[in-house]
């Protein structure tokens, strides 16, 4: 069930009405759990078992980690390793099996062998990277004594399967979400208004910005070798905004939908294009994933910022490669992670505290991010390298016909719209924080964005990019 489909809106309305019609919190949670399983099962009901199994394993591991007699470090480590192996095993099997098989075969071929490796026709379950990370986070947090293990299964299972964030994040922590499910929730008009704003902005980002820019991006990346440098640069700019619109759009819709139920989700993006350094950028982009990797990979597994510097650098690079690999089993994603890891060590080019320096820093950061994105979007590494070659060869002389200039003009307008809104709201909590605007002004803003949605919105039900990760 896609957020940008009519069936979701209907499903959402029914669930919401039933949710508030029910008096007791436990039953409300039960309803949300059933709704979440319906939401997931809508795509493919067979994988509901997987979702349930992943949840169950970590629920039991959590109980084991908290059990009084099992507090010896070795026992706890053993329990944790069960949780990690099951979750990583699922990920490895569904997401990385073919990649490893193919890569090993290629490696053996280089060595002169001719291996016959099996390749399985595996369907990647939607959102597996998100919910396995969530269940692992729970086990790791219990292991680290960051949160107590829960004995109540309902809030825990709901935490894993909660439908607004189930298939494309944000990757929530049990410490944030479960207490919200456990306490009594009340219909709060402020939260609902904020939820509406989040959803509206999310739909604008997805249906207006991302889906319209996709036309240009697809045109450029379909034939990178024949594109001129100028077209590639334009295509990559568009892709930066497309992926932002797509992913941040999903996160905003998720946040908004959840607020209608009285549950706050973590903010996943905080105006990343206004970051003045690469380090700052990764604190604002896909925040929930980067925090997850920081807490559990960079600090917990690798030890964080340790001496000597070479080990620290290694830790950073490993973390970024992991972030790249999380997106998918492709060399392009690994290089994407690696490139960003290298950029991470770069400091701000301009140290002055004035507007011009800030602007130049932001521009530089954005362009560094775009450099990595070429690998992210290109189908193969050689495509990405061809794109770089063409950019430096010539900026003009295109042989690929982009959509007409009016459409490209629209692309500029849409990118400008995102920059404008985020710039105006940059000092506020998020892009939709307009509580101080008088009611008529808010109404006017809604009107403008609704018009944008209806006039430019693409309702062809294009799936969200992050569903595949």
């Amino acid at each position: 069930m896609l957020f940008n489909s009519t069936v979701f809106l209907l499903f959402f309305f029914i669930t919401l009405t039933l949710h508030w019609a029910i008096r007791k919190n436990t039953y409300r949670n039960l309803l949300l759990l059933v709704a979440s399983y319906i939401f997931y099962g809508w795509w493919d009901y067979r994988f509901l078992l997987l979702l349930f199994a992943s949840s169950l394993v970590d629920y039991l591991c959590g109980l084991g980690l908290a059990k009084e007699g099992w507090q010896r470090p070795r026992t706890r480590k053993l329990i944790l390793s069960v949780s990690l192996s099951v979750n990583l095993g699922l990920l490895l099997f569904f997401k990385y099996f073919n990649f490893f098989v193919e890569s090993s075969a290629a490696f053996l071929r280089v060595l002169g062998f001719s291996p016959h490796m099996p390749a399985l026709n595996i369907i990647l379950p939607v959102g597996i990277s998100f919910y396995t990370f969530q269940t692992m986070a729970y086990a790791l947090d219990v292991y680290r004594y960051a949160i107590p293990a829960t004995k109540e299964p309902l809030p825990y299972f709901l935490y894993v399967a909660y439908f607004p964030q189930l298939v494309a994040g944000p990757i929530e922590r049990a410490g944030n979400l479960m207490p919200q499910f456990m306490r009594e929730r009340h219909f709060d008009m402020d939260m609902v208004q904020k939820g509406f704003r989040c959803m509206l902005w999310g739909y604008v980002l997805k249906c207006v910005v991302a889906d319209n820019l996709a036309v240009v991006v697809d045109g450029v990346f379909a034939d990178l070798a024949r594109c001129s440098g100028g077209q590639i640069v334009f295509g990559v700019y568009c892709f930066a905004f497309q992926i932002y619109g797509d992913f941040a759009g999903y996160s905003y819709i998720a946040m908004g939908a959840s607020l209608f139920f009285g549950v706050r989700l973590t903010q996943n993006f905080r105006s990343p294009f206004f970051s003045e350094s690469v380090r700052d950028f990764w604190k604002r982009w896909n925040i929930s994933l980067m925090n997850w990797l920081r807490d559990y990979v960079y600090i917990f597994a690798l030890g964080g910022r340790i001496k000597p510097v070479s080990r620290w650098a290694g830790n950073v690079l490993i973390t970024f490669v992991a972030s790249g690999l999380w997106h998918g089993a492709q060399w392009t994603f690994i290089v994407f992670g690696l490139v960003n890891g290298v950029f991470y060590f770069m400091k701000k080019p301009f140290r002055q505290e004035n507007a011009a320096a800030r602007f130049l820093n932001m521009t530089a950061t954005f362009h560094l991010f775009c450099c990595g994105l070429v690998f992210f979007r290109a189908a193969t590494l050689s495509d990405a390298l061809a794109a770089y070659r063409n950019v430096f060869r010539s900026l003009g002389g295109a042989s690929v016909l982009l959509p007409d200039h009016a459409f490209c003009g629209r692309a500029f307008f849409l990118m400008g719209l995102v920059v404008f809104v985020e710039w105006v709201q940059r000092k506020r909590e998020d892009a939709v924080a307009i509580e101080r605007v008088p009611a008529w002004g808010r109404f006017l803003i809604y009107l403008v964005f609704l018009t944008l949605l209806f006039v430019f919105g693409n309702f062809n039900h294009a799936p969200f990019i992050y569903f595949q990760f």
């Binding site: 919401l16 009405t17 508030w20 219909f187 007409d404 200039h405 009016a406 609704l450 006039v455």
Partner: protein, 503 residues
């Protein structure tokens, strides 16, 4: 009901209210924008119109015309036209369709008294246009449906117009661009002619003011009791209100009248047919056809259909054959008989009849296509299945009506094709008639595109390989048309210059 649910319901009510307000504001904004742009356009049109001795050209079109090439055309004609003073009246309109043009056509022709009418439109007709034109057509459609919905809710649909989808569009434009109100008709029956009462009655009926329409038709009958038209119209009004008895009574009165009796027979036949009294219906159709054999095409079709439904195929064939003899120029006659042959699997006869219809009017090609398809001649089926310009039938009739009205008034009609589109499609719509001239915009645009980029000529590619023009593109159209007008109308008709006036 718990407090949370109460608050939730309150929120829903509030949200619905605001959403309603938002929709009203949005449509009001569109309305204001439309009204103001039309107001400005009208001011420009009226400027200098009263000066005598000018040659007036009235241009109909869509957004590719409104404030696009007409001003350049005027400038160009006046620059090159010597002593003749040209006035170009721009009646282009965003999202324009033929139904709207027709609604205002007579009024426009009276008001501007043009010497020539130029038409460049057609891309926004029907669903086909909507698909091709993306959000513009989408918006027009939504707008259209919205007002149709409102009118449906307040129950102001015209009698018998439910079936006619185009009418709802007229309503939208009627609301957007109301003409100055005509004087109300006088109340005394003697002071107005019967035709005027009928006209007023039809008008009220179209506006959904049935009571007034009824009154007007009654006064029309009183003014001319010997004419069946009033009885028929009033009867149809009652029939729409499900008062069949009164309708029947009126049709019978119509049959007793002196003029237009065939209409009454036909309507009474329809009434009986709807009731399932087929024999009585048949008798009525036959009587109507006897009364006015050359006037009642519908009677032949309905009668033949009744026979066909009863399995009396030979009878039906005979009627259709008679229909072809009576109306040899009407393609529907051939289409109907061909379809019947097709049903009977008499492919050779069907092909012959369809072919005769096709030669008469090429857009009646679907029958041929079907025949070839059924016989497995795929290539031929494709040829006839996709060769013609696909205007919805209603729009096609609309353009023909425009042609007939304009030519009927002795005004020259120039049918201009959109840039880069073949004029042959247009010829299929308007046909080859004296007084019509065709202008093509292919050679000039293709030549310009050799030296200019697409974006220098088009602002967008709204319709596929062309769209709204830039100044340069509009100049290409205007110069081409000016050339065609000056050479084709005022100069040597045989010479074909840059602007190819295809006669």
């Amino acid at each position: 009901m718990n407090d949370d649910f109460r608050a939730y319901i309150k929120f829903l009510g509030n949200a619905a209210l605001k959403a309603g307000l938002a929709i009203i504001i949005l449509f009001a904004c569109v309305g204001i924008y439309n009204r103001s742009s039309l107001f400005l356009q009208e001011r420009r049109n009226l400027k200098g119109l009263s000066a005598e001795g000018g040659y007036k050209i009235l241009c109909f079109g869509d957004s590719t015309t409104q404030a696009q090439w007409p001003p350049i055309l005027e400038e160009e004609l006046n620059r090159r036209g010597g002593n003749i003073r040209f006035k170009v009246i721009d009646r282009g309109r965003v999202f324009n369709r033929i139904s709207r043009v027709l609604y205002f056509l007579e009024g426009d022709l009276d008001k501007y008294q043009p010497d020539m009418v130029v038409v460049m439109m057609g891309m926004l007709e029907g669903r086909w246009g909507t698909k091709e034109t993306g959000w513009g057509g989408w918006l027009a459609d939504r707008f259209d449906s919205f007002w149709a919905g409102v009118r449906l809710l307040v129950g102001r649909w015209g009698e018998g117009e439910r079936r006619n989808g185009e009418r709802k569009l007229i309503k939208v434009f009627e609301w957007l661009e109301r003409r100055p109100k005509e004087e109300a008709p006088p109340k005394e029956a003697a002071s107005l002619k019967a035709d005027d009462y009928i006209r007023w009655g039809k008008r009220y009926r179209g506006e959904g003011r049935f009571d007034k329409a009824e009154k007007m038709f009654k006064q029309g009958i009183a003014a001319s009791p010997g004419d069946a038209s009033g009885y028929v119209l009033l009867g149809r009004l009652y029939q729409a209100k499900d008062d069949d008895e009164k309708a029947e009574e009126l049709y019978r009165a119509g049959i007793r009248a002196v003029n237009q009796k065939a209409k009454a027979y036909f309507q009474l036949g329809n009434l009986y047919r709807d009731r399932g009294e087929y024999d009585r219906a048949k008798r009525m159709y036959v009587a109507g056809m006897k009364e006015a054999p050359r006037d009642l095409l519908g009677g032949y079709i309905e009668l033949a259909e009744l026979h066909r439904m009863n399995g009396e195929i030979e009878e039906a064939k005979k009627i259709y054959e008679k229909m072809i003899k009576t109306f040899p120029e009407n393609p529907y006659a051939y289409d109907s008989l061909g379809t019947l042959y097709l049903e009977c699997q008499e492919y050779e006869k069907a092909e012959e009849v369809f072919n005769r219809g096709y030669l008469l009017t090429p857009e009646f090609e679907q029958g041929l296509s079907m025949i070839y398809f059924l016989q497995g001649k795929t290539e031929l089926a494709k040829k006839y299945g996709g060769a013609n310009y696909r205007l919805p039938p209603n729009s096609l009739r609309g353009y023909r009506k425009l042609r007939d009205v304009v030519l009927g008034r002795g005004i020259k009609l120039v049918c201009m094709q959109y840039p880069r589109c073949p004029v042959a499609d247009l010829e299929k719509v308007f046909g080859k008639k004296a007084g019509i001239r065709y202008v093509e915009n292919v050679a000039n645009f293709e030549k310009a595109l050799e030296t200019h980029e697409v974006k220098e000529i088009f602002r967008d590619l709204f319709f596929g390989n062309f769209g709204h023009c830039t100044d340069l593109g509009n100049r290409l159209i205007a110069e081409n048309l000016a050339d065609a007008i000056l050479r084709g109308v005022f100069g040597d008709r045989d010479s074909v210059g840059r602007g190819a006036m295809l006669n």
